[in-house]
Every structure is written in C-alpha cells, then in structure tokens.
C-alpha cells in the first residue's frame, strides 16, 4: 500500500511553447486612397505563426473578420434571415449599407447571381454598374461573388477587375475548371486578390494554388477549402481545415494562405430553417445558432474570413472574436463557486 500524502504534492508545470517553422502569408484586402483604391480602410488577414487560440504565442496578429452576404437580385432566403433584410432585397447598395452600418460587417460580399446564364444572364457591364453602386454606398473592402458558371464568371470578374483597378477586391472565386492563367493575369494586372476555391481536398487546394503562383504572388491569394453545414459534412470540412492549417504551420507553403469560409452554407441544413416539432422551436433562434455553431467550429481551425448571413450569428461571432483577443482570465473568484450559483 502506498502511504497517503499528508499535504499537497507540489507538481511542476511549464506550459509547452512549441514553435512552428512557417508563418501564414498576410493578405491585404481592399485599398485606401493612399494604397491606390477608394476604400475607407484596408484589412489584413493571416500572419499566424501558431495554431488558433492555443494560448501560446499570444493572440493572432490579425483577428478574423466577417463579410456579410448581399445579393444583386431578389433571391429566396430563410425566413429568419429575410426578416432582417426584407426592405433592401432588391437594392444591393442599400443592402450593403445596412450590412455595414447596422450589422457591422467588416466586408461585404456581393453575389452577382443575376449574371447566371440560367437566371437573368445580365451582362458584365451591368455587373460593373452594380458594383459601382455598392462601392459608392459603403467604404469597406468588397468581395465579388460570381454566379457559379465558370465561363461567365471569368468575363464578369475581368470586367470588374478592370473597372475597379487597384481596389484589391477579393475575387470569389477562382476554381480549377476556369482558365487559371487568364484569371491570374487579370487579377495581377488590375491589383486584386484571388480566392482559390477547392472542394474539400488538400491536394486539389495545393494544386490550384501552385497554378496560381505562376501569375500571382502568394500575398494575393486567400483559399476557400469548402464549408459544409453543421450536421451535413461539417466534420469533413472541419478536419480538412484543421489539417491544412497544421500542415501549413509545419512547413507546407502551398497551404500557408489565410482561410475563408462560406459559413452561409450552414443554412443548407434543413434543421437550420425548417419548421420542426414544438420542442425544437422557435426556428428564428435555432437558425442563427446553427450558423454560429458552424462558424465557431471553423474559427477554432484557424479561419481568417467568414462569409455569413444572419445578423445575430454575426454579432455573436464578433463578440467571441473580440473576447478571444484577451489574455488570461483575471476574475477567478467569479466562477470559483459556480456550484452554489442561484440562477
């Protein structure tokens, strides 16, 4: 039998402080007048030297930022989202203003849905006009979202890139089946940033980034590794991003780019928007929590830029990001007696 200790055994503990060989590249989004654009400010993302929120190495150099979605035409939205934007559904400039002024978006994504040949097939020229209005209405950096048709997107992106040369818009997105050379060249020539999008596969991500390097410096590339909704593949998206970031910090330069997440995809889960049995209601609360939960899991993998939709989810994620910038808890007393707390 052991002898029972009579007093506290003093164990030692030195928290680990490992170092990683690689720094995630810093990418600047948006350009001010001095920087050759017209934005009110530019935003830098990336620059991490340790995994997200591990505590050692201090807080990240640039806290993650949030872009809100704006659509260039009326689209069907979940009810919980629609109720917050119903007045501006057909006015992208007003929508963008609302996103920035009321919902405190750091950036705005304009999804040029109407350019889709299968929807309205609006011309690149008209898309330029829409962006013009939005760029006038808000001064935050912009993200240019395509319609998903690779050919049309290239034409639209090129027209916008040229019309807004020097603005460092994030072009969302460049995919493997586009003419990567053409995209790389116009993004470089007109001073923008590429969002390199791949479907949940690290090898494909490396491959696309490698192709882009022929035309773009690493500082002009952000990557989107695909976000799946909570309950519908978030597990794969989560591990894919976690692995990519750890690999990047350990020396895999082709993955050492800031990560962007299309967190709006959370709404693809039916449990986010559907009316369910009374014990799961109200969906007006369940839905935004769905989007927030998806975002939080990915925040922990190291995502630098979130593209989101619901104002309440955005507000809560902002709070969390701000809180995470603080150091150690100093109010130990407050929780020391949680067991006795009256609620």
């Amino acid at each position: 039998m052991k002898t029972k200790p009579a007093k506290l055994v003093e164990a030692d503990f030195a928290p680990p402080a490992p170092t990683y060989p690689t720094k995630i590249v810093e990418v600047k989004l948006g350009a001010t007048k001095n920087e050759g654009g017209t934005r009110g400010k530019s935003i830098v993302i990336g620059g991490e030297t340790v995994p997200a929120f591990y505590g050692f190495g201090g807080p990240a150099p640039h806290p993650p930022v949030i872009a809100l979605d704006v659509f260039d035409m009326k689209v069907s939205l979940p009810r919980a989202v629609k109720m917050h934007v119903k007045e501006v559904l057909e006015d992208p400039a007003a929508w963008a203003k609302l996103a920035v002024e009321k919902f405190e978006a750091d950036l705005v994504t304009i999804h040029l849905v109407s350019t889709d040949p299968l929807i309205k097939d609006t011309s690149p020229k008209e898309a330029v006009k829409t962006i013009e209005q939005v760029a006038q209405a808000v001064k935050v950096p912009l993200i240019i979202g395509g319609c998903g048709d690779p050919k049309k997107d290239m034409d639209v992106f090129e027209a916008i890139a040229e019309a807004f040369a020097g603005e460092r818009f994030l072009i969302s997105s460049i995919t493997r089946d586009m003419d990567v050379e053409r995209c790389g060249r116009f993004i470089k020539r007109f001073g923008h940033v590429a969002l390199s999008f791949t479907p949940m596969n690290m090898n494909l991500a490396r491959d696309l980034n490698r192709r882009l390097y022929e035309f773009l410096p690493r500082e002009d590339i952000v990557m989107d590794l695909t976000t799946a909704a909570l309950g519908y593949g978030l597990d794969y998206a989560f591990s894919n991003m976690e692995r990519a970031r750890l690999a990047a910090l350990a020396g895999d330069l082709e993955l050492a780019h800031p990560m962007s997440s299309g967190t709006t995809n959370a709404w693809a889960a039916r449990e986010a928007w559907m009316e369910m049995a009374p014990e799961w209601e109200p969906r007006e609360l369940r839905g935004p929590l769905w989007e927030l939960t998806t975002a939080l899991a990915l925040l922990l993998t190291g995502v630098d830029l979130f593209m989101m939709m619901h104002p309440a989810a955005v507000k809560a994620l902002k709070d969390v990001i701000e809180q995470m910038a603080h150091g150690q808890p100093d109010e130990v007393d407050k929780i020391a007696n949680w067991v006795c707390a009256k609620i």
Binding site: P59, G148, F197, T226, M274, A297, V339
Partner: protein, 470 residues
C-alpha cells in the same frame, strides 16, 4: 509510444501467434490489425487472458492505453464512459466517447419541478440519420450547502432517474450526505480543491467513485492536485481547469488545449484524464438579461468546449432549439473520420416501384443520400433513385466544384438500366442542380422536372407536378 503510431506488427509480436481463430479472425496478424484500429479489443483473444501470456498481455495493455484515461460514471446500462482519447486531433485517428452532456438540478428545486426536469432530460431525443442524440447525466448542485437538503435531493434524483450523477459541492460534508443515498450508482464526486482534497479523496476512495479536481485557471495547482489524489490512491479523475466566459474565454480554451496537448503529445500522466467544462457559467453572469440570451451564450460556450476537448459539459438550459445544434455538433466531431463519406453509386428502388414510378437522382454523399432516402421512406413513396458518384460531395458543392455535371448524370442514367424499367422519360433532379437541367435534357433525351432544394419537398412535388403532368 503514441497509439496512432503503433503498427500491427508491434501488437503481433506479443500475441500467442498460434492462429487459433478464437478471436474470430483468420489469424493473429489479422487480429493485430484490428486491434490497432480499435475495431477489436484485446479481450477477444482468449489465449492471451491465460496465465501463460500474462506478461505479454500487460505489455499490450500498456502499449494500447489511450493518452486520456477512460473513466466510467454510473453503473449498468446507463453508465457513461468519458475520455479514453488516443489523439489530440480527430483526423489523426478518431475520437472515442462523445462529450457527455450533464444538466443541472439543485437542492433548492421544489420536488415537482425537479421530477419534471429529470423527465425532460431523460426524454430528450433527436433521431439524426439513424442515430439517437440524447442527454447523458444529471449534475446535482448544492446551493444551500446543507447536507440534509442535498441528501434529500440526491435521493429524489436516484429514485427518479437512471442517468449517471455528478454530486456537486465543495463541502465534503455535503458530498458525504449525498453519497449516503447515491453511492451505489457510482456518481462522479465534484470536486476536490486545494482546500478540501484530503476529505474528498477519502470519500472517493471509500466509495470507489471517480473524483473531479477543480483549480480555476491554475494549471500548476490542477496538476499538483491530480498528482496528490493519485498518490492518495484514487485512480479515476476528471479535471476541471475552470470555464470562464467573456474576457476569460481565450484563457479557458487555452487551458483545455494545453492540458490535452500535454496528455497526447508529451504523455503527461497527471493530465491524462477527462476534462470537464461548465458552459452553465453563462447563466451566472446574466445580470437581468433575457433568458434566451443566457441560453444562446451557454450554447456557444458549449460548442467551443465540445470542439476543444471537453469530455463532460454541465449545462442549465434544456430548451431544444439551443441544444439541437450542440448534439449535432457533438455527433459531427465524434464521427470516425476514417469512414468514407460516400455511399455506393447506382440505382436504388424505394417501396414497390413500377413502370410509371418517378425517377430521380441524388449524389453519393452519405448524408445527402440518407436524408433523401429517409424522406422517401417516411412518405412511403414508390420511386427509383439514381445515386450519382460525385466523390462523396453534396449536391450544391458538387455542382460548384464540377463533380456533378450533366454528362455524369446522363451516363449514370444510361448505366442504371432504368430505361428498360419505366415507360416514361421524366427525370426529377435536385433543386440545387437546377443549372444542369437543360444540358441534362440535351444529353440524355429525358425530360427534366426540377425538384425542391430540400428533399423534404419531394412528396409535395410529386403530388403537384408528377401526377398532373403525367
């Protein structure tokens, strides 16, 4: 050696090597392969359990021991296992034992409210693609600090539920009173602190219960306490480094991460125990805000802790809208990342389809497929479903990533042989693949009917469009 680096040969070396087959495998090497991936447990090899192989067995047990010890709370069917983790990241292997969710009750709750709450916790269930998602434990909190009151509450809890219990008080007298009525159900005792560790350890030892150790935001103290009670003779611990919300959030996650990292990467024996988080903290700082705000904050604190290594969380809210995302998140984080996310492509029949039945397609992403399948089954629809191989990617992402193209759909239609099984030539496609409609018509010669964006809309679509246009 870290578990994930074990090779089948490392295990094989210590097996009896008789290839007797009692384990149900062809030979010892096949068994070793399964042991390494956790698909088989050592006990299955009967010869290994004999005296002759005792040393080898000990060695194997040591090799296979998880970095985080597995601790059992409760007895019988309802016992929960916590911890037992082999790795820090799920992609390295897989996470065992999903985070147990405990709901609090207090010794100030009137009996009716208490019993009602226990019923609700037990009754919580969400069927998610074939998995029941449930709540796991009851945390009994002593608010009054009075042993008799706590005992009475613990008694009612034991009488009314089989769920495993956490007895919560920093006063050993209170815990002792609780144990007098609840010891048989092997509760987790919460918690030993720098002030009470000796009495608590004594109680845990006497009643053979796992012991929680609490040292808010002081990892050195937590580690000292762990070492102390281990020396005292306690074997099963649960560590609580404190859960802080607001300004303390970063420190909280950093503490959880540091402990788990030390256990998994450096083999720290004092930190190799399950971790407990307390999202309930969100309610103690609510300062008059609406209850839904506290629920919301508690939920997101819980989400962060589920992802970052908590093996038990204590919560106050039992409202479904706030718990649903959490139990699904837990399910996601604890799935086996080694399992492919794809089901087999090809033609599937639902109900009893005939030559007039609808034909539709979806992708071979497992979740998409199971969702569509369960919608067809629950609506008792007779139909053919063609599962197109998109490499296990959902409809919207595979359209965006060009893994789902009109050509692929047309080929899958052809290969399925469906043309000989139905008289019509009308294909229902997912609403999220609407952009492929025209091209599919061109390539396949079938008429396309664009279906709903969510398969829950299929019955309605069939009612409104399939019959009327046939």
């Amino acid at each position: 050696m870290v578990r994930k680096e074990l090779s089948p040969i490392d295990v094989y070396r210590f097996l009896p090597k008789t290839n007797c087959g009692q384990c149900g495998e062809q030979n010892c090497l096949a068994f070793a392969t399964k042991v390494v991936t956790s698909e088989a447990r050592l006990e299955k090899c009967a010869p290994l359990l004999t005296k002759e192989h005792e040393r080898a067995r000990r060695q194997l047990e040591k090799m296979l021991r998880p970095a985080v010890k597995e601790v059992v709370v409760g007895v019988g069917l309802h016992a929960v296992k916590i911890g037992g983790k082999f790795v820090m990241y799920r992609h390295e292997f897989t996470y065992t034992n999903p985070t147990a969710i405990a709901i609090d009750v207090t010794d100030e709750m009137p009996e009716g409210e208490l019993v009602d709450r226990l019923k609700k916790v037990e009754g919580f269930n969400f069927e998610f693609i074939g998995h029941p998602l449930k709540l796991d434990m009851i945390a009994v909190r002593s608010i009054t600090n009075e042993p008799e009151k706590f005992q009475a509450t613990a008694k009612k809890v034991v009488e009314n539920t089989n769920l495993p219990i956490i007895l919560c008080s920093f006063n050993p007298q209170v815990i002792k009173a609780g144990l007098a009525v609840a010891a048989k159900s092997k509760p987790l005792l919460y918690a030993a602190t720098k002030d009470n560790w000796k009495e608590m350890a004594e109680l845990a030892l006497r009643h053979r219960c796992p012991l929680g150790v609490f040292a808010p935001n002081d990892l050195k103290l937590l580690r000292s306490l762990a070492e102390t009670v281990l020396e005292y003779g306690i074997e099963d611990l649960v560590l609580d480094p404190g859960t802080f919300s607001a300004e303390g959030l970063a420190g909280t996650l950093s503490n959880f991460t540091t402990i788990r990292r030390s256990a998994c990467k450096s083999g720290d024996e004092f930190f190799g125990f399950p971790l407990m988080g307390v999202p309930m903290i969100a309610w103690t700082q609510k300062n008059g805000v609406h209850e839904d705000v506290a629920r919301w904050k508690e939920a997101y604190l819980a989400a962060l802790l589920i992802v970052r290594f908590a093996d038990i969380i204590v919560m106050h809210n039992i409202n479904g809208w706030a718990l649903l995302p959490l139990v699904i998140l837990r399910q996601n984080i604890y799935t086996d990342p080694r399992k492919p996310m794809a089901v087999q492509a090809g033609l599937k029949a639902f109900g009893k389809p005939d030559d007039n039945s609808p034909v539709m397609f979806t992708t071979n992403f497992a979740l998409t497929y199971y969702t569509v399948a369960s919608d067809l089954e629950s609506a008792k629809i007779n139909a053919y479903l063609i599962v197109v191989d998109t490499g296990g990617i959902a409809v919207d992402s595979s359209v965006a990533g060009r893994r789902l193209t009109a050509e692929k759909v047309a080929n899958a239609l052809k290969a399925s042989g469906i043309e000989n099984m139905v008289k019509h030539r009308r294909l229902i496609i997912p609403g999220k693949a609407a952009r492929l409609a025209l091209e599919i018509e061109e390539l396949s010669g079938w008429q396309v009917l664009v279906g709903p964006k969510d398969s829950s809309g299929i019955p309605k679509l069939l009612q409104e469009k399939w019959l009327t246009q046939a």
